[in-house]
Symmetry: none
Amino acid sequence: MPKLVANDIAAVLKKRISSGEWLEDGRMPPERDLAVEFGVARNTVRRAVGFLEDDGTVVRHVGRGTFLTATNPDSIAATVARMEGTSPADMMEIRQLLEPAAAAFAATNASMAELNAVREAHQTACEAEDMPNFEHWDAEFHHRVFACCRNDFLKEIHNLMRTIRNQSPWFEMKKRSFSEERRQTYCSEHQTILDALLHRDPESANQAMLAHLKTVERNLLGR
Amino acid sequence: MPKLVANDIAAVLKKRISSGEWLEDGRMPPERDLAVEFGVARNTVRRAVGFLEDDGTVVRHVGRGTFLTATNPDSIAATVARMEGTSPADMMEIRQLLEPAAAAFAATNASMAELNAVREAHQTACEAEDMPNFEHWDAEFHHRVFACCRNDFLKEIHNLMRTIRNQSPWFEMKKRSFSEERRQTYCSEHQTILDALLHRDPESANQAMLAHLKTVERNLLGR
DNA sequence: TTTATCTGATCCAATATTGAACCAATAATA
DNA sequence: TATTATTGGTTCAATATTGGATCAGATAAA
C-alpha cells in the first residue's frame, strides 16, 4: 500500500538491529526469508539491505549471508539508538523524576527574560486552535522551563526526550488522547506552574509540575 | 464557512510540519492522498505544496515523493555532542536526581539473581587493590543497580552518563580524588545500599544512594 | 466584464516495486 | 572428494506510484 517500501524496511531493520536482534550470531536472515516476512519482492529487500550496507551497519557475502558489523554497545551512538525505542510508560516515569526538579531549579535560577519566554509559550499554547499547534507550544513550554535551569546536562537530556517524543508513534498517541477538555486542563496546570515560577517558589513549582505530569500520564496511558 | 484554498492548505501543512509531523522519515504523503484528505482537487494541493517548495521547506522528486528539507534542527547527534562536554558538577546534580530513584525501583523490582550480581560487583570492588580496578567495579556496582530497575530508558540514561564519565578528563579527576580512606568509605556506603536492596526497602535504598552520591560529590568537587 | 482560483480530467516523465530467471560463492552432505 | 543446497549478485520486462503539465469549465471577487 505505501510507497517507498524499501526505505521503511531499512528503517525497521535498523531498529531491530539496534534493539539487539540477531546479536547472538551476528547474522541476519536470508533476503528471501525477509522478503516473505515483509510480504515484498526480494529486490525490494535487497534495496533495503543495500541501504544498511551503504551506511556500514551490515556486510554481505555471497553464499554465506548478511552480517552485522561489530558495534560497541557502550558507544553513545548505540545507546541513543536504543533510547529511540523507549516506551511511553518508561518515558513518563523519568519525566516525573526530572521535570519537577527542573521546575524547582528554574524557580530559583531563571532570569526574568527566561520566565517571560515561558509565559509566552504558555499563552500561545492556550490560544492554539488545533491539536498540532497546541502540541507544539505545549512542548515549547516544557522546553523553556528546562532552558531556565542552569544545568546543561539536564537540558540536553530533555532535548533527547523531546526528540524521541516527536517521533511518529508518539504523535499518533498524543493525537488520540487529545481533547478540548484536556487542553484546558493542561493550560490551567501550566498556569499553576508558571505562577510558582514567578513567585520564585521551588517547592510549589516542583509539586505543580509533578501534578501536571501525573495528569498527562493518566491521559496518555489511560490509567 | 471559509473555503479551503491553496493558501490555507499551505498554512495548515506548514503548521503540521513545524509540529513535527512526517519528521521521522521526512516524507510527506502523496499529493493525491492529501487532496482526498483535504477534500480538494489535486491541482489545489499542488499549488499549496508549490508554495512550500518556493520558500524551501520542501523538495519534490517525480516518482519518489515530497520531502521535508528541514531535518530536525536539534538533531540527536548535536545533542549528544553537547552532552559530551558535560561538567562534573552538572553530572553529579543529575546523578543525585536519578540514582536514588533507580535504587528505590531496584529494591522493589530486582530479581534475586540481579541482586546477587550487585553484591558480586560490590565485593569485587571492596577487594580491589589499585585505583583503576576499584574504579571499574565501583562503576559496575552502580550499573548493576540500574540494570535491576525495570525502566529501560533510565538504564540507557545511565549508560550515557557512564560513557561520558569514562572519558579522559574525568578519569584524571577521579584519580586525583582517590585515596585508600575514601575507598573504604565508598565500600561501606555501598554495603548500606546493598543491605537496603536486600531488605527490599525502597526508601532506605533511596536515602543510602543519595548519601553516597553526596559523599562522592564532596570528594570529587572538593566542597 | 475581467481576473483569479478551484475542479475534474487526461496524459507525461521519473522512480519504485514486482516477479522471474540465471550466475557465483559458500556451506552442507553424501 | 563430489554433489547438492543455500545465499547474495545481476539483469530484465511489466506494472504501479508519484510529481509535472495542460486544458476546459465553474465559481467568486474586483
